[in-house]
């Protein structure tokens, strides 16, 4: 990408990182689907053009500095995007290239010719489709042409193919023909020019390619230095039909290195095209490749591929007995689309027998319990309410006044309640707490275990003996249970419940965990409709660490819980101890971004439904992902987990005191 000619303009270079989002939106708008813009890896840089398009991606260089101004370099990025989305927009991706090439006796030769012709067609169509990009395109073509080798220095077969490429770049026909020693080029260019017609489609490119290939097939020896990038070998193997034309030693010749055109990419691996032809290529088991017919039908109908529905609407009750389950969509940020009915959420009722849990909490946190209750006592009804038709008030009720005058004049008794009074309204709040019950909440808090000597115990070790019981048996020391993250969460929620009860707010407590998309667990400790009872305390105490943290599905299910709540203020507070994670949360388990993006999407759905969300995370590294999941004002990272009850109280007060 960096040529000696271009290096002098480095001060006006444009970096991919600076314009990534702009180009991604640009591509999505024009292609009608999300295309993943990826950076070409540095090791590929010498041949970054070897492969730029795959399933739904466009590969671009880290920077472009070929031209004198930043505007022109940005234009070159645009042209690279436009050309590559051209494979989708102009129908190349719908064509069964695999079978087309495989049917040829010289598939690699046919491939080279086909893409020279197809790129010519796409660039010609680009001029028509995007007239505003013509100047950039001509500039980029001219630059690419200036860096090509002279065909007069090449053997006949590579020279003819190079001539086709240069023709597609706008080289003057007369100059090309003048340098041709085979006498075939004039006829080949005639054939190639046919795809510049407005009506030409990918089938015309295929037809022209076959015709040209037939003319060149017997020209020169089979492996005559025809440029063959390394990807060609891979293709031949994948095709299951090794192409004898290309021996390893013949690859990447100096002619081959010059074959590619930077902005066009190279379609050698053809993943996208195989996908269209129904050939499996992806290792992902997420969904089968769509049938070519279906895709074509979809395109011809001009359907919008980007989904606009909310996954919240996809709730479906399960039809079999057992815990109720619900299907929810999941947001796949790679493809910017919802995976329909992707996650099954099982709703479980938490049941426990530790009914004295709250007494234990009050005893252990007596000072804190008092503080929380006191803090909640300060919360006053959150809004003023205009009470009409009162006997006294701040202002006159105009409608009532008019009616009173009318009544008086018509001889009827009039009402004396003619004022409007501003009263504090009743609290009208519904809040749900969604607690992470993943395995990591089993983490023991440092220094939380205490050992107490039992009364009468001695430091002497019990002698070993034949008897299990006897005077020598020393009772084990009493060890206070080690406090874990989940325990602190439960304590905090218990204190909240205790205080909220006095406040009169409607509230619910849920936990979530799971093991894969087919088994997301949603545990109900207290639903909105449940009255606080001993059973609630038992259920709260029964919250235990379980498995993974598939947060998006849990949030969507919690969102559904608000559907029947009519409160003016709705709040969802999520308490977790780490980033969203599950073994199949995205195709790559190490890809944290998938879960983060799905959770961010779920939180967006929550906000869209008029519910205020807030994330509290007990994870010092929480800032890294929370700032990508939530708005800055909607999350809190707590370093000291024991501060959770205090912080929750403050958060709740803030969120509901609007």
């Amino acid at each position: 990408m960096i040529s000696p000619v271009t290096q002098q303009h480095s001060s006006d270079h444009v970096c991919f990182a600076d314009i990534h989002r702009l180009l991604a939106l640009f591509a999505q708008g024009l292609a009608g689907r999300y295309l993943h813009l990826k950076l070409v890896e540095p090791e590929d840089a010498p041949r970054w053009n070897a492969r730029m398009t795959d399933q739904a991606s466009i590969f671009l260089p880290a920077q472009i500095r070929n031209f004198a101004t930043a505007q022109h370099n940005l234009g070159a990025y645009r042209i690279a995007v436009l050309h590559q989305i051209g494979y989708w927009v102009e129908g190349t991706a719908d064509f069964d290239l695999h079978h087309f090439f495989a049917a040829s006796s010289r598939p690699v030769l046919l491939r080279r010719i086909f893409f020279a012709i197809e790129d010519l067609r796409i660039d010609t169509a680009m001029r028509r489709r995007y007239p505003g990009a013509r100047a950039d395109l001509e500039r980029v073509l001219a630059h690419a042409l200036a860096n090509r080798s002279a065909i007069s220095l090449m053997p006949s077969l590579p020279a003819l193919i190079e001539a086709l490429v240069q023709f597609s770049l706008g080289a003057p026909r007369a100059a090309l023909v003048a340098g041709d020693s085979s006498g075939l080029l004039d006829g080949l260019l005639d054939a190639a020019a046919a795809v510049q017609s407005m009506d030409a489609d990918v089938h015309d490119s295929a037809r022209v390619s076959l015709a040209i290939c037939a003319q060149l097939e017997y020209l020169g020896p089979a492996n005559e230095e025809l440029p063959a990038p390394s990807i060609a070998k891979t293709t031949a193997v994948v095709d299951g039909k090794p192409d004898g034309e290309f021996e390893p030693g013949s690859e990447d010749t100096e002619h081959g290195a010059a074959l590619h055109v930077e902005f066009r990419g190279d379609t050698a691996s053809d993943k996208a095209f195989w996908r269209r032809s129904g050939r499996p290529f992806a290792t992902s088991t997420r969904e089968p490749p769509p049938a070519a017919g279906a895709v074509i039908e979809e395109r011809s109908a001009g359907q919008q591929t980007l989904p606009v529905r909310s996954s919240v609407t996809a709730v479906q009750p399960r039809e079999i007995a057992g815990p109720r389950s619900f299907l929810y969509d999941e947001w796949d940020y790679h493809r910017q689309t919802y995976l329909a009915a992707w996650c099954r959420v099982f709703e479980h009722r938490l049941r426990g027998e530790e009914f004295g849990f709250i007494e234990d909490v009050r005893r252990r946190h007596s000072t804190l319990a008092h503080h929380v209750r006191r803090q909640f006592g300060f919360i006053k009804p959150q809004s003023w309410r205009r009470v009409r038709r009162t006997s006294d008030g701040d202002e006159l009720e105009l409608d009532g006044l008019i009616e009173a005058v009318i009544d008086r004049r018509t001889g009827h008794a009039s009402d004396s309640h003619l004022y409007v009074r501003r009263d504090r309204g009743l609290r009208n709040v519904a809040a749900a707490f969604l607690v992470d019950m993943s395995a990591s909440t089993d983490f023991a808090l440092p220094g939380s275990a205490t050992v107490a000597k039992p009364a009468g115990a001695t430091t002497q070790a019990a002698p070993s003996g034949l008897y299990l019981y006897g005077d020598h048996d020393v009772p084990d020391p009493v060890v206070a249970p080690q406090r874990r993250v989940i325990d602190v969460s439960k304590d905090a929620l218990a204190l909240m419940c205790d205080a909220l009860q006095a406040l009169g707010d409607s509230y619910a407590i849920y936990g979530f965990s799971g093991d894969g998309r087919d088994n997301v667990e949603f545990h109900v400790a207290k639903d909105f409709a449940d009255k606080l009872s001993l059973r609630t305390w038992g259920a709260l105490a029964a919250m235990q660490p379980r498995r993974s943290t598939r947060m998006g599905a849990a949030i969507r299910h919690a969102l559904g819980k608000f559907a029947r709540e009519t409160a003016g203020i709705k709040v969802l507070i999520i308490v977790s101890d780490g980033y969203p994670e599950d073994h199949d949360y995205g195709t790559d388990r190490t890809d944290r971004e998938y879960g983060i993006q799905d959770t961010a999407r779920a939180l967006w759905e929550v906000e869209r439904a008029g519910i205020t969300d807030f994330c509290v995370t007990i994870d010092p590294a929480g800032h890294d992902y929370l700032r990508r999941m939530c708005k800055e004002t909607r999350y809190l990272v707590i370093d000291d987990v024991t501060a959770l009850p205090h912080e929750l109280t403050k958060i709740y007060r803030t969120l509901t005191a609007r």
Binding site: R21, L22, L23, L25, F26, Q28, G29, L30, A31, G32, R33, R78, L82, Y130, P131, G132, A133, G302, Q304, L306, V308, Q336, D399, I402, E403, V405, I406, R409, T410, A563, R608, A609, G610
Partner: protein, 269 residues
């Protein structure tokens, strides 16, 4: 009264005429700026102003109410007013339409207070009556009266959805943004720009709608495309017209604005 120009997208004209013949209340659903209001104006003209219409004598065939959150049933039905030493009953727009036999169009009905939507219930079934509580009158609807409501399911929050008891009283006509050919025709007709530019703007609309998930759920409306065309017809450079009428109108996100500008840039000559 001139015929309001309307280009049918499908069979909505025929459906509306059939609904009118049966006096079935109609619900128009669709995104903002897709032509719902123009459609009802056009239908009012067809039903009340065509030469062979038996209803040509009606002075005001269409009474439109733009609903808002403070709109009450009283605002629709009417109220007593003081006039000198007298009290005078003043019909609200709904009552006027019910008496005269006009079409009453409640635009964005879910924005109105709940009591407003309930007051129309008795007008939308076989009874076709409007109870006026303050006068004690039970007003039979004029035989030509029709109630039409509209709402935009896209951006209304779940809190403002129509109640099933209201929704299920209406025949529902769905509207969406037209395809490129029809939209180009609309743009050219409404603005006077040449068909080529109109088509380019329609393509811009189609492409920009592909970005609707990025902060503007509605996409760009046909109305905005017409605005851009009208600016261009008035001598504004088309890219600048698209900048102010499309990119800056649909989003405040600077990067999305730039990407829309880039789309416009390559699509316009």
């Amino acid at each position: 009264m001139q015929e309001p120009w309307y280009l049918p997208l499908a069979d909505e004209v025929r459906l509306f005429e059939a609904a009118y013949e049966a006096r079935l209340p109609v619900l128009l659903k669709g995104p903002t700026g897709c032509g719902k209001t123009r459609f009802i104006e056009h239908m009012a003209w067809r039903l009340y102003r065509q030469i062979d219409s038996p209803r040509r004598g009606l002075e005001v065939p269409l009474i439109t109410v733009a609903c808002h959150e403070d709109l009450s049933a009283t605002d629709l039905v009417g109220r007593y007013l003081l006039s000198g030493d007298e009290t005078v009953w003043m019909d609200g727009p709904l009552t006027r339409a019910v008496r005269s036999g006009a079409i009453c169009y409640l635009d964005e009905v879910v924005e109105a207070r709940k009591d407003t939507t309930v007051v129309v219930h008795s007008l939308t079934d076989h009874r076709r009556v409007l109870p006026i509580e303050k006068t004690g009158e039970l007003l039979d609807a004029h035989p030509d009266f029709l109630l039409v409501i509209s709402y935009n399911p896209g951006y209304q929050s779940v809190l403002k959805d129509l109640k099933p008891s209201t929704r299920q009283r209406f025949v529902s006509l769905d509207f969406s943004y037209p395809g490129i050919d029809i939209e180009a025709t609309i743009i050219a007709h409404e603005s006077g720009v040449d068909p080529a530019l109109a088509r380019r703007l329609a393509v811009v609309g189609e492409k920009v709608r592909n970005l609707r998930e990025h902060g503007f759920e509605e996409g760009v409306s046909t109305r905005l495309l017409v605005y851009a065309a009208q600016l261009a017809a008035g001598g504004i450079e088309p890219r600048r017209a698209c900048d102010v009428a499309i990119a800056r109108a649909v989003t405040d996100d600077a990067e999305v604005q730039k990407s829309i500008a880039a789309i416009v840039d390559v699509l316009l000559p």
